[in-house]
């Protein structure tokens, strides 16, 4: 029994949510108090928005891998499908131009449909074989997106995707609060939109966790045979897991593409992205929503925010330049030493080393992740 006063204090994840949601206000505060540039925090806020979008993707992956125990190695493909559905439905070289909210819905449903298409034939496969099929599927989708130039414009990408168009009344209301309806300049619009959608996804998943479907997913993860003996409709639950997982990935894809204003190049939706997302949820804690969010913020926050920051510090501090100068003075006729220094002193070149070590050490000393769900913890620490 918890002491009664904890009821009145917000739980720490609520505090975390508050901290994120108040970030723009914090920036404004800093700007008004300290003599910093008027754009202080904008770049950071925009990158934070990216993290919120990736968090949706990670939560989607968590449905398949965490809840249901289906090792899905092709989540990036569904992300890419969401991106391209959005692209096709909104760019002006196509006649649709349905606007953001319809494309959001279509990307989600479309990706979910592809999830079913992948899920149906793979119901019989288990463990590693399923992992390989999803991996292969991811590659096939990537190559297909790239090669179906008539539809996707290949590596050129679909461009430009217009920003969401707020209904007039909402734009007016937003205007009262100082939002200018200029999506490419005011990061707060995307920031709150993504945060809002992420919050809805989290609430949805929380409910799903305790629903009949959520419990049958866990049952399948624990023991598929036993689950089916207990009357769980295994194929249906698995298909639902595939569809929900892919749908959330498609949703994230739509947000991603709209924020990027184009569909990028299909090569951006490759195995590497799937693996990084998998690392996020494993680092944070499988089957745990807060764990997944923490994993995304740690790993991707490191990749997108911390490591570029350190790089620019190194660049500004002049350490790199002086090292290169020194290398040139040692061996004036060869650039090899100078290049080696430049490589070693670029912090982002160490990124994967750090990721890798983090994964290896986690698996060795805390395989259940940083914020595990209680059930997974019990399983791994029995």
């Amino acid at each position: 029994m918890k002491p009664s006063w904890t009821k009145f204090l917000p739980r720490w994840e609520v505090l975390a949510f508050l901290a994120i949601a108040l970030f723009p206000a914090f920036c404004a505060l800093v700007r008004s108090v300290f003599p910093v540039q008027s754009t202080w925090g904008n770049l950071f806020g925009s990158k934070l928005t990216d993290l919120l979008i990736y968090a949706i993707l990670a939560l989607g992956l968590n449905v398949a891998v965490g809840y249901t125990g289906l090792l899905q190695l092709g989540i990036a493909a569904f992300f890419g499908i969401g991106v391209y559905i959005t692209g096709i439905l909104t760019v002006n070289s196509y006649p649709f131009q349905v606007g953001f909210f319809v494309s959001l819905l279509s990307a989600t449903l479309g990706a979910a449909l592809f999830g079913l298409i992948l899920g149906a034939p793979t119901l019989r496969l288990r463990g590693d074989y399923l992992a390989i099929v999803t991996l292969g599927f991811g590659e096939v989708v990537k190559v297909t997106l790239r090669n179906l130039e008539e539809i996707t414009k290949g590596t050129k990408g679909l461009n430009p995707i217009p920003p969401p168009h707020l209904p007039d009344w909402l734009a007016v209301v937003a205007g009262w609060f100082g939002f200018s309806n200029k999506w490419d300049l005011d990061y707060r619009l995307f920031f709150y939109l993504s945060l809002f959608i992420l919050a809805i996804v989290v609430l949805l998943l929380k409910n799903l966790e305790h629903s009949k479907l959520g419990r049958s997913w866990v049952a399948i993860r624990e023991d598929e045979l036993a689950a089916s003996c207990m009357g769980v409709n295994v194929p249906r639950a698995k298909l639902a897991a595939f569809a929900v997982s892919a749908g959330l990935a498609g949703l994230a894809g739509c947000l991603y593409a709209t924020k990027l204003t184009n569909t990028a190049d299909p090569n951006a939706y490759d195995f590497n992205r799937s693996i990084i997302m998998l690392c996020c949820i494993i680092l944070g804690g499988l089957a745990s929503i807060r764990g997944t969010l923490l994993g995304v913020f740690l790993l991707l926050g490191f990749e997108y925010i911390v490591s570029p920051q350190i790089d620019s510090w190194i660049q500004d501090s002049g350490i790199l330049d002086s090292a290169v100068q020194w290398a040139k003075s040692v061996s004036p006729d060869s650039n090899q030493l100078a290049n080696a220094f430049a490589r070693l002193l670029t912090f982002s070149n160490w990124k994967f080393m750090i990721f890798g070590l983090a994964l290896v050490l986690m698996m060795r000393f805390r395989p259940e992740g940083l914020l595990p769900s209680s059930r997974i913890q019990q399983e791994l620490r029995h």
Binding site: R124, L278, V360
Partner: protein, 319 residues
């Protein structure tokens, strides 16, 4: 070879074209098969998809490149005798390097996780793969590197449309004995027998007096050594290396292992050859840019209809 030569000189163009694409495919496939063996052996014995294997192979190619310039084989005045001796030295060095590295990774990373759930070593393997890639990046930088062509390309065919060069022969001559040797080793030697025993039931094998950990270590070392061989051949055959080649080649090799029935040695070789053939025939008759999609498409179809691979029935006799 001789009847083939005779046929080739009289055959119609479409046939020589087809034959040439088969040669291209089989040679590349043999390379993939060598890498696939490392995947399949490790999977067979501890059920781990060793994602780091492709990147181990990549580090091997970097070592080969470094050794080639360290031995001065890339200088124009290196005689062909010196090149031959140098290459003969590079092969065992690369094999030992990759074998030792693979063994060390097993001891440090995977061994403490033997009793953990399956996901733990898999994720560790992904982590090791990241670490290897990063080592490659810091070692040679992000750009592709050219490996000087040291093996001559004298053609065996008189027909100008058909090529089977010394290079191809060199590849075939290196790969085939390794495969046969490995198959014999697994089938007849004491080590091979204990490997099979461990793969079937580690506990029972232990009770029978087999030192299970030593057998697993040997498997990792052998798989790594094969990747080392493959890396030198790859460097000399494809002539371009870069820190990301481990990814696509590892993926192909892994697909080959699954295609043949993962854990099955002849299966891995068959899978590698099939992938090489599909890749080159796909490029020839469908379009170069679809080749990858065809390979993975076939993989998916095979896994759905024959989940244990092409030589699936024999998976009980796995390494």
């Amino acid at each position: 070879m001789l009847p083939l030569l005779a046929v080739a000189d009289t055959a119609p163009d479409w046939f020589t074209f087809f034959l040439q694409q088969c040669i291209n495919g089989l040679t590349y496939g043999a390379l993939i098969a060598l890498i696939a063996l490392g995947y399949t052996m490790v999977y067979g014995i501890i059920g781990l998809i060793n994602f780091a294997h492709g990147d181990l192979f990549m580090l091997g190619t970097f070592l080969a490149l470094t050794l080639i310039s360290a031995f001065g084989l890339d200088t124009p005045d290196a005689s062909s005798g010196a090149i031959a001796v140098g290459l003969l030295a590079i092969f065992p060095i690369a094999a030992v390097f990759c074998g030792a590295l693979n063994l060390a990774v097993d001891r440090i990373v995977y061994k403490p996780l033997r009793r953990a759930p399956k996901l733990a070593p898999l994720v560790s393997a992904i982590g090791v793969s990241f670490i290897f890639q990063n080592i490659g990046l810091l070692w040679k930088g992000p750009a592709d590197l050219s490996v000087p062509s040291l093996v001559p390309r004298t053609d065996f065919f008189s027909d100008p449309t058909l090529e089977f060069t010394v290079k191809d022969l060199f590849l075939t001559l290196t790969v085939l004995p390794i495969m046969f040797g490995l198959t014999l080793l697994v089938k007849y030697t004491r080590l091979g027998k204990s490997m099979r025993a461990v793969s079937q039931n580690p506990t029972a094998a232990q009770l029978m007096g087999i030192h299970v950990e030593r057998v697993i270590g040997n498997t990792f070392a052998m798989g790594g050594a094969l990747a080392g061989f493959a890396s030198v051949i790859y460097a000399l055959y494809i002539n371009t290396v870069g820190f990301q080649i481990g990814y696509i080649n590892g993926l192909y090799a892994f697909t080959a292992a699954v295609l043949g029935g993962i854990g099955n040695i002849p299966g891995a070789v068959l899978g590698g050859l099939v992938i090489g053939l599909v890749r080159s025939l796909g490029a020839a008759y469908v379009g170069a840019r679809w080749a990858t999609a065809i390979i993975f498409g076939i993989l998916i179809v095979i896994l759905i209809f024959r989940p244990s691979g092409l030589l699936g029935e024999r998976t009980r006799e796995k390494v």
